[in-house]
Each structure stands twice: as C-alpha cells, then as structure tokens.
Subunit: 337 residues, 4 copies
C-alpha cells in the first residue's frame, strides 16, 4: 500500500498516519520527494485495505500495490485448474462447448435439442428452469418441473447439464437435478448466493456481471473458493458499453487477462454478448482463438417459438457449422473440440 500525502502536509499529520500504520502491526517507510511525501507500507496489505486511510488529514490518495484476491490468483496456484463436470474436463486441452436452449420449455423440445447438439459435438447441455427476466410479466421459467425435465433428458441423451441458480432456497433442487450450477451475470455480486455455492460439492460456472471489472469478478470467484469450492469456471458474457449494434460488448481481452491473473478456466458466452444469432459464429471463433477453454451457446430447434431469447438462438444446422469452424480454430491452436 502506498500512501501519497498532499503538498504542505505537516509533520504532525505524517506522524499521526505513521502511528496508525504501526498500531496495525505494519511497517511504514517514509520517502520525502520534491513535491510529495509518500509512505510505503510493508506487511499484510489486507489489513490496510479495509482502513479508510483517505480520511486521515493530509492524505491525498491511497494506492494498493497488490491484487485483492488470493485463492483465485496464479500466484497462489501456478498450474491451470481443471474442473470436472461429471467426467467432462474444463480447462484441459479439449475445448468444451455447452449448448442448449435459453429456457427449458418441455421434454420433447429439450430432448430433440440435446440429441442434436450432442451430435454436433457439444458435451454439456444448457437450459434454464429459473430465468432472471427484466419484466415481471415475462416467462419466468418452469422451476422444479423444468429441472426434472433437464434431469430426465440428461439421462436419456447421455449428456451432463448446467443450469442457473437464482435463489438460495433452490440450491438443493439445482444440486439434485443438474451437474453444474450457473451463477448469472445479475447475481455475480449476490454475495450470499456465492457463499452458498461455495459450500456445494457441485462445480460452479460464474458469469461476469455486465458492469463488473475483471478484478471484481475474480473477487466474486474468491468468495466461492474461500467457502471451500475450488471447482469454478469463469464465463465472460459481454459488458455494457455505449455501443448499441450488439446487445453487450464482448470483452475479448478478458480471456488472456484472466489466464494471466488466475488459474481458473474461462469460457465465453457469445450468444448473450452479441444478442443476434448471425454474429455468434465469428465471435465464437474469436473467443477460442483468444485462448478460451470453451463456449456456452444458445441453440433452439424452433427459435420462432422460443419462450425467451429466440433472437440469439442458433438453429441446430447453424450450430453444426459453428462447431466445424470452431473446431478448425481449435486445431490450429493445438487443441481439439
């Protein structure tokens, strides 16, 4: 932690800060420059992080030196984490593609989609039973009924599943019926929910909030790891910017940034990022080329009748083309799908 003082700070003010730092068991190092005096603090930076040093008289600003996360960092664990979802390894050499409809609508439809995406190369089935909808009047998902359909289809089609958990009270249901728990973008900072899934034995996919920095995202993952669950996969899904040609702006650089800062696997959700099916394929290829460990893609056999997010859903035929293109990119990078 570096404490930058205002010009003309008095010795009394400086001593007041130094005493505070010492009282916390840390070691202050004062450096008087021409225009500013600076105090470097040696010791556990976390102790200082929660102290409002900015309010001390004479302090201009406080600059942290270290990242605020520990368990998710590359410094804590150098080798890549590989997350196992009922036998499917995320973060290893293989690119993992999760695919399926936005919402689970009925057994027949889900089974049809499950078979087609599996045939095209997807290894995890996605589908929502609890849907976070901006409008209280929009379809909110089938709830437990949807989870049962997901579970049955998973067995019939032989493909593990991922589904979103929105409400702490539903965690037992989601754990029982699916193989991986998804935390959506709107719940990335629902800290109580994070603590709960941190106590779960199931792997967790943590989507980035649409207005969250990479640092905040890693801090949210830290909540899960700190509660004991190290099986976390990060998912970049676009951030909110001024650009309106796409629903969100996919932050492609987040992939190599996260790879550098953390040992956790990272996948990309191109469907929600762009919001238009015609853009999903090129953005999927780009994601794999940037180093992502996988994708989660919306596929629907009849987007015209989809109960949610039809506009960004691919038809199975287009998904098949996407898988071929992504496969070529993966191969060019020495990976496989």
């Amino acid at each position: 932690m570096i404490i930058v003082l205002k010009p003309h700070t008095t010795d009394k003010q400086i001593n007041h800060i130094i005493e505070k730092v010492k009282k916390l068991g840390l070691k202050p190092m004062v450096s008087k420059g021409i225009e500013r005096t600076i105090i470097g603090v040696i010791g556990e930076e976390d102790i200082l992080r929660v102290q409002p040093l900015e309010v001390f008289p004479g302090v201009e600003k406080v600059m942290p030196v270290l990242a605020p996360y520990k368990l998710v960092s590359r410094e804590f664990k150098q080798e890549n984490t590989i997350v196992d979802v009922s036998g499917i390894k995320i973060g290893a050499k293989n690119i993992i593609v999760m695919a399926g409809p936005c919402s689970i609508e009925n057994h027949t439809m889900l089974l049809k989609i499950a078979k087609q995406v599996k045939k095209a190369g997807a290894t995890i089935l996605r589908g929502g039973a609890f849907k976070p909808r901006t409008s209280p009047y929009a379809f909110q998902g089938l709830g437990e009924k949807g989870l049962k359909i997901l579970h049955d289809v998973s067995k019939e089609a032989g493909i593990p599943t991922v589904t979103e958990l929105m409400d702490i009270r539903d965690i037992d249901l989601v754990e029982r019926y699916s193989d991986m728990i998804q935390i959506g973008a709107r719940n990335m900072q629902n800290f109580n929910l994070l603590k709960e899934v941190g106590l779960s034995k199931k792997p967790v996919m943590l989507k980035r909030g649409m207005m969250s920095t990479i640092e905040e995202w890693l801090m949210s993952a830290e909540y899960i790891l700190a509660s004991g669950n190290f099986n976390v996969v990060l998912c970049e899904r676009g951030i909110r910017t001024f650009e309106k040609a796409t629903r969100f702006t996919l932050d492609i650089s987040a992939v190599p940034v996260v790879k550098k800062l953390s040992h956790l696997p990272i996948i990309v959700d191109p469907s929600h990022a762009v919001g238009k099916w015609g853009l999903v394929a090129p953005v999927s290829s780009a994601s794999i080329a940037s180093g992502a460990d996988g994708l989660i893609v919306e596929v629907h056999t009849d987007p015209e009748e989809a109960l949610s997010d039809g506009a960004q859903s691919l038809l199975p035929a287009n998904f098949k083309i996407l898988m071929t293109e992504v496969g070529k990119i993966a191969k060019a990078m020495g990976r496989s799908v």
Copy 2:
C-alpha cells in the same frame, strides 16, 4: 410494436409474419415504403414483446413503441406517490434526508450519530447490518445483532430507520427491526428478492444498479408494485462509467427523467456516487436543485475508525453545513427540509 423488414423481403415472408401477428390476436398494418416495408402492430404490445420476432425470415429489426412498465408509470397514476415511513412522508413538499453510518458498529457509536444527524435535520437514520462487500475478507456487518442495535437506537433517539436487505432469508428480521427496507444496487435485479419485498407491508427504497438503465430500474420497481407493495422510493446512486475521478458518475438527469416517467418519489445517494466526502455537499445541493425528494448521506463521528466506507463519510460538523446549504436550495425551490 413496429416491425421493419429487410429490403427484398418476399411476399411469402411478409404473409408469414402477418399470420403470426394475427394468431396472437393483434392487428397488423402493412406499409410499403420506397426502401423498406414496415408492419405496425395494433393491440397489446406486451404480447409481442416476448415473441422473438427478430428471427422471422425477412425481419431486420423490431422497435417497441411503448414503455414496458405499467404500474410505476405516470400514465398509470398521474399524481405523485407519497411514501410514509413511520410518519415521515417521502415525495411531498418536504425534502427528506436520511443519514447515518455505512455499517452499524456498536450501540454507543450509532446512538451518538443518530442524535447528531437528527439535531442537524435528518429525519431517517440509515445504517447497515448486512453489508455487500466486494471482498470475502472485508467486514460483512453485524447481522441480527446490528439490527437490534438499530432498533434500540431508533427508539432511544426517536427516529425511524432504513436498512439493507440482501438475503431473502433475512426479510422477517429486517421487517421486525426497521421501518424501511433498502434494496442495494447489486440486488436491483435480484428478482426473487424484489418479489419478496413486494409482499411486505414495509416501504422499500430501491437503489439503481450501477449498470442499469433507467428503464430497467423502473422495471425492477414494477416487480415490487406488481407483487402488491406500492410504497417504493427510488434512489439514484451513480452509474459506472469510464471516469475515475469519482467512484461512480452520479446521473443527475435521472431525477427529472424519473419524475417525468413515474409517479414514485426519487432520492439521491451522493456519498456512494462520488466516494469522497469532500464532494458530497455540492452534489447534494445539485440533487435537490434537480428536483429530488431527498438524500441519503453517510455520516460518521469517527471516519478514521469506520469499519466500512470511511472515505466517503461526513463528520457531523460537515453534515450540519451540508444541511444548511441544502436547506437554502430547498427554500429557493419552494420546498423545505
């Protein structure tokens, strides 16, 4: 709803869309322009809103004509809503100032602050027992113990209270111990939590998400009203932008925009918006001048020792100055504090 078609759309495609619209019980009106054919749809726009019309062959884009909210709109209710918090009226002629520490730390401190802010003119005491913290290692609030302190201090000092609810499981506690339920920015789209407070008898203060449009914010309020609770106060607290001189960017225009679109009262949280105590007073004056019905301000008797957000807390002496300045602005506008 306006459906804009691509150039060179075939009659077959146009008929396919027209049939779909009719099947939904709506009336399509086709208008063939020089460069584009457009289909206007007459009837309940909400029916179409959940249909993925963008995926129909030939459709270029779909433009909604109406706002997606109903109960919160000025069209639904023309006169201003006045929310009663244990006798304090929000949205009436009087400017309401809520003040207090970020976190409840102990009885002595809270009582001291409560007396001072009340003396300076604040009429509602704020203080958090459950704190949404970016870091799992930061102080998370005193929980139920804090709520009890809040309740006791409220009685002793004779001032009603507002406190944040983060977890559905804590709603009974918060209802029992405080006069108003706060939904924080990070939970603005925690839709299950919104539904629960919609069932509560207590008034609700709904903060705007740092990444949420005004329309999404009003939709979240709609969730609460649609569940039966019309006592909702909106709170603008800054949005996330590229500017880093302040913690967030206070969207001052949101005040007159909300006043125009909705009948609900709106207050401003200058402390979280700017993140630096030295900027709180001018931004408070600006908020009242823009037409806000009140403020929620962080005040701490000893910011140097505050367990959270000390950097943006005002000392009681500075809060008193702020109240004088705000009072002058309110008076100039024909209101009072």
Copy 3:
C-alpha cells in the same frame, strides 16, 4: 512515480531499473516488502512519465503519484482565474449565461433571439457558423457568412458572442468576428487546433470530449495555457454512457472535481448533455447548485424550423422561466445572475 515489481524479480533486474532511473537524473528508493519489491522515484516525475518502464523485465506496473498537468492546476495558481469576454467576467461572483441558437440561420432570426435572451438575462450570445455534423448530408453551417451575421447582431443587440472553431484555417475569421472561441467536444483532442488557439489573444471555451476523462480534459487545457493563452473556460457537456434516456450523461460531479483540481472557471452545457428541452431547466439549476460558474443554453424562437438541434432548444418563454429558477438557486448560494 512508484514502480511495483513482480514477485521473484532478480537482483539483476532490479539493478537494471535502478541504473536507468539514475541515468535520468532521478533518485530511486528501493523498499522490499513481503510479497513485492517497490521502487519509489524521487525527482521530476515528468521525466519518467514518457519512459516505457512497464517493458523493463521484472516490472509489474508503474503508478504515477502526481497529476500530469501543471499550469491548469490549483497547486500552480491558488486563486480562481476570472476570464474576461469583452467585459463579461466568467469565474467571478456572477453566474454567466450564454444563450442562443445552435446554428446561425439568418440575420432576422438571430437578432430576434439575441434580444430576447439578453432581456431574459443572458450576457453572451452563442451561435454556430461552422457545425460539426455526424452526417455529411446535414446542414454544415453558413461559414463566414454566418460569422458576419453574428458580428452584426452582436453590435446591434449589444452582447458579446462565442462561436465554434473547427478548422485551423478559419482561426482568423473566428477571431475577427467573435469575442470568444469555442472548441467543441469532438475537437478536445485536436492538439494542433489547441496549440493555435493557445497563440490567440481571444478567450477560449474548451468543451469536454464526450469520452474524455477529467484528467485528459485538463491536459487539453494545459496545451492552450502552455502555448500562452491563460483565458480558458472549461465546459462540461455530458459524457457517453450506456444510459439512453438522455443524449449524454451530464457528469455533475465534474464541477466540484474541476474546482478542486484547477483554477479555471467551469460552466455547463445542459442542452447538449440531455438532448431534450424539457430536461434543460432542472439540470441547469443542478449545475449552478453544484458550483458551476455559468451555463450555455440553446434557445430558438422557432425550434420546429431550426436547421439543427431543434429538439433540445428552449423557446424564449421557457428560457425566461429557466433564468428565474436559476436566479433563485444562484441567490441561495450567495451568487447572482
């Protein structure tokens, strides 16, 4: 300047950096912490600012301690600068309101508007002869002809003027025909243009770029001061964010932030910020309450026929109401209009 090193940096790498710092005539101070080694650099920070220290082996990040601007800073000059525009003082006790049409359209119209805004209390007439338009097909302004009209109207109505300069080649014209040179948001980082107006004797109004940080804005002002022209007025006009209810998001906190960092006067352009005339008045009041030294407002006698930006122009009658409201706020703050 603080240089933070990566963990496990070798002594050789540290020495390499130390030598570089010394070679530049600066004094390095090494501080070895538990997790990181840090090098504080004492001396002229500007020397280091242009050095790409991040590329040195072992460097994790470089953190500047000082602001990069000098002449515009409060540290350089403590008392407020007052800019004189042909007798009108900006930055003094009086609130200055500039008003007029977006574009100069013809003599009759401009004279009519000039008289009305002057009567309502405006003391500077605005009007564009050169218009930066997103579309090459939109009205681009009357050019020199417009400037002559502006000049004639200024004499007839007895009110000084401000007008935008877009092209270095037009500087003589703008200097000859108007009292103040406006640099628009899109040219805030047109550095050659800034240098030229820095050589001018006329006062300059520098609008903030719609995506520029306050620091970059002050750096652009620094260009003008560094070329010799200290008569600079800053103008906040809204920044670009994800919110679409207004054309831009007025950054109201920028007013007190700039007041703290710089001695230059600051005014606000509410018309371009919100883009809708119905929101101009409340946002104008808020701007004055936040501490702004003035406003620049679009007024048109016939917005329905305006050749540009009619949607955000006030009718003279509404402008009069705005002036009354703003006057009350100014008075409450001990200022006057």
Copy 4:
C-alpha cells in the same frame, strides 16, 4: 421514419404534423392504436432526419427506420471493396499485417525494424511522424523530417507505408512521403480533415474513435466516400469502457458487424486496444478469427528506449511468434498471411 405520439394528442396536433410531413414532399400514414397514435412516413427519410420533429406538440419520440449512411453500406455495394496500397491488396483473401514503431525516431532504427517486420511477413510499414499526445510536454513526433525517413526506409526496405495525418496543413507532405494516410481515433470526427482526405488520391485508414458508435464511424467513412475517395480501410482499435485491466476494450464484435453493414475492409489494432505487449498476440489471433482483413501492430527493436508507447510494443522476436500464430488461424479459415 416513425413518429410516435403521446397519449391524448389532439386532432389539431396530429394534423399539424401531417401537414408538415406533406409540405416536405413525403407521405404520412396514420395508424391509431389502443394506447398510441403512430405516423409512418414514406419517402426519403433523409429529408426528415434533419427536421426536429421531437419539438412538435404531441410528439413523444421519433424513430428512424433506415441507417443514415449510403455509400459505405452493403446495400449500396454488395461485393467487398478491395483497397490497393501500392500493390498490397486489403480486403482480399490475404490477411495484411502492418507493423512498425509507434513513432519514427531515426533512420537506423526504422530501417532495422522495417527489415525485421518484413522478414516476419508484414507487408506495410507503420510509423508516426505526427503524434497526437495527451500531454503538451510529451514527444510530438519528428514531423517532416520523420516523413522523409519513412520514405527513404520504404524505398530501401521495399515496403509501402502508412502514417498518421493530424493537421489539414500537412496533407501534401503525408501524400508525398507515404502510401496510405491514417486518420487517428481522436480525429475520427474531425470532419474537415475527413473532407480533405476524401479529395486525396491516396488510400485512407480510418480508425474508430474511442467513444464512437459503429454507426458514427461509418458516417465518418461516408464523409470520405462522399468527397470522392472510395479507398477506405476501417480500423477497430478499442473503445473506452469502465474496465481498466486493458487500456481500451477491443470491440471484437465490431468486425462481423461492419462486415455485415459495409463493403469496406476492416482491420484491427490490437496494440493500442490492449496497451500491454503481453496481450497483443492472443487478441491478434482473435481478430483474424472474427473475420478481420488484417492487423496493425506496434513493433520496436528496443521498447525500453522507445519515445512513445513502448509498453505495448512487441520485440521483433515476439512479433515473429505472433505472425506464426496468426498464420495458423488464417489458414484454418481458408485465408493466408
């Protein structure tokens, strides 16, 4: 153009608008819905675009139906434009890589870099003689002297060049000494400069403004085409967002969006987008995978001594690795480098 009226609009107001529309030679089509009356306008939308219809009594909002650009659109020209830069074809099957230092510093250095990047596969040499710098105190480029060096090195190394034009007065120089004119992000809406390069015979690379929407960017290109120069290459270089892990946020989706909307070639500048050399390679691969026609990459033989932007410059050895990786991706897509 669709004009949406407020509820309770009077017939008089509706007739007033209808008359205005007819007076402009357009055909209004009124459609009375349950909650709103809507007026569709048939005819040249551009005529209405410059009319401030929002100010007409009774109008709630005006929604354009068509894109505002013509010449740059796919509708105007269906096949891809291929831009020829002294024999190098941009927009064809081959991926084009432009590489070189940020600033031209001296002949020896530039020649050395030119030879190395050419050997690694780059086909155009980049290098700035005029540098737009945030600070007036930073190195501003060598000016004409730099251009001469660029020209000489181009001949010696046998590689065409691209360099930035900042000031209209320098256009003759830039045309004389280089093969392609670069318009930088900060000048994307310097409309007078755009008109001038529109009159030039040289191909133009138009960078996207860091704050500009794709639509505005295409409108700026429209300025150049409308002035007669169709040889325009677009360059995505990152937009400004709240994320601070990278210098800007590369908008990867802009590549397929532009490909859909326009016939112009598009390349990506990964160096300025991310601002850190370690992230340049993965983001370059992603750009090609998204469908970009090329890259412009900063390379410096001695980044530690670079006079500008050293932190984002690649060493020739790393550039060579990047070219290999990019080559694999290009090949996987059926293209070549």
